[in-house]
Symmetry: C2
Subunit: 307 residues, 2 copies
């Protein structure tokens, strides 16, 4: 399928699945986060602020969508879904710090360090990373299959570290003002955004007890494609979107002299690459059959989103 | 036993156990950390710098000492020992940041952010926290008993989070310039330093397969006592030590208007409290028999250390 033929029409099912799973993740997050007045209360408030500020919750939606497609009861997916969103939220808090991207606006609200101070934002991020592992390790349903439980914890840890999200941030830091090759840009995003998105799909499949190596590989490859697609769409929105709609400062990447897909591939080349990745993702899902259709819908959503 | 009677004479066995286990932990850390040139190499170098800068490695020493006392082969303890040291190292990197304690000297060397820049220090800390979970979750020996493996991961995560180390840091932040009660000061340290030290003892016992609830409780209570004792000794050294010996800036806590034991209990009261906690720790260990003697020796070491 050429990129021009990809069906990018809005699929009505996608927003519904998104809002259902988003709301379910929100309920779990509300339950596992410390209460506002739980001492140290400033930390509890900063953690809640960082996690409960809305957002698409794409990563938990992927856990639920992949997991239920593989046959899991949603209950088995709650802690993994919460864990990936908590990790994502912590990464945003640290990315926004003055020493990092120095951003003041996130999801249409002041960033965590603007609201709570820099020191508390650092600690809130640190405590959130620990909480993600605590929530996943504390899941009573998964504990009945402890080998699978350990595999899930290993998957989450690998996605967060030097060969995952944190490593991607380090590539990003080193890339400011540099002219990257397309391969270097891709590596940066595969680490920075892709690792946790891929892990979300894998965690859903693992929680469902999926042990078919070929199916797991296809799902991870799908996660790889939509992880990159997600980032490319971000770069496009940074150029074409406005701050009010995207909920963060538009034009920020360009102003910060960060390498972006439009800068390296041009806007037309960027959009074609996005369409190709989306087509690849859908092509990986189609052979898995009808229960997996919502993953294809999500791939379309990622490519089309406006915020 | 009154505090005046505690035998605080140096025990020759302690430095030996310390140096043996310290070296063993060092070998594991060398193996699990990314190589210097492992991309992103700036991150790899910062992570290695933060972890391999020497230090007492008290937490891995506690894992090995408690674990071998409970009958574990040291091999079963390697990943937990490395994990607690990695967590400790990450916490020091973040504590030293300009927005936190703003310290330039650690273990006699420039702090991580002075050497690598603030952004890379934040990321190195983040990547180290993830690495600790990855190392523990990836242990092949423990994987043979996955329920125990999950329990260990849960123990580590709980010690790091809002009700553990990160929470203690938040209490610390809120305490600057405040007049704390002795109970508030103790709560801060039980979270900040105590949680990871207690977890180190528990991880050793768990890895050994110890499931005797009474013994586990005694060992954790021992960890609680020496965790507080460790912090009290730190406060004493901050007043009485010199920067060259303690490897960090002496007088820092007082200058930063942080609540300390000497400020709240007076120096005499502080030393008496230290001696009482040490006596409690030893009294908890003595009934466990001869194999546990090295833990009593460690309690004495913690109370006497000069760096």
């Amino acid at each position: 399928m050429s990129s021009a033929e990809i069906p990018l029409a809005t699929n009505a099912a996608t927003p519904l699945a998104l809002s259902t799973w988003n709301a379910r993740a929100g309920a779990t997050l509300e339950r596992v986060l410390p209460a506002e007045d739980d001492p140290p209360s400033a930390l509890s408030r900063a953690m809640r602020y960082a996690v409960l500020g809305g957002g698409k919750r794409l990563r938990p939606v992927l856990v639920y969508t992949a997991g239920t497609a593989c046959g899991a009861d949603p209950q088995r997916l709650d802690s993994a879904a919460a864990a990936v969103e908590i990790i994502h939220a912590y990464s945003l808090v640290h990315d926004d710090l003055p020493a990092m991207d120095d951003d003041a606006l996130r999801r249409g609200r002041p960033t965590c360090h603007v609201a709570f101070g820099e020191a508390m934002a650092i600690l809130a991020g640190d405590a959130l990373q620990a909480l993600a592992f605590e929530v996943l390790a504390g899941d009573a349903l998964l504990a009945a299959e402890p080998a699978l439980h350990v595999a899930m914890l290993r998957t989450l840890a690998a996605a967060c570290g030097a060969h995952g999200m944190a490593g991607g941030q380090a590539f990003d830091l080193a890339a400011v003002g540099q002219r990257l090759t397309p391969a270097e840009l891709e590596r940066m995003h595969v680490y920075k955004t892709g690792a946790l998105i891929r892990a979300s799909v894998r965690l859903g499949a693992l929680a469902a007890g999926c042990s078919d190596a070929q199916r797991l590989a296809a799902l991870e490859r799908y996660g790889h494609c939509i992880g990159l697609a997600f980032q490319i769409r971000d770069d496009i929105l940074d150029v074409e979107g406005d701050s009010a709609t995207i909920g963060k400062t538009a034009g920020k990447d360009v102003a910060a002299d960060k390498p972006t897909y439009p800068a390296i591939l041009g806007m037309e080349g960027t959009k074609a690459h996005l369409a190709d990745l989306t087509a690849q993702a859908i092509a990986l899902i189609t052979p898995l059959g009808a229960p997996f259709t919502p993953l294809a819908d999500l791939a379309r959503f990622v490519a089309e989103r406006t915020s």
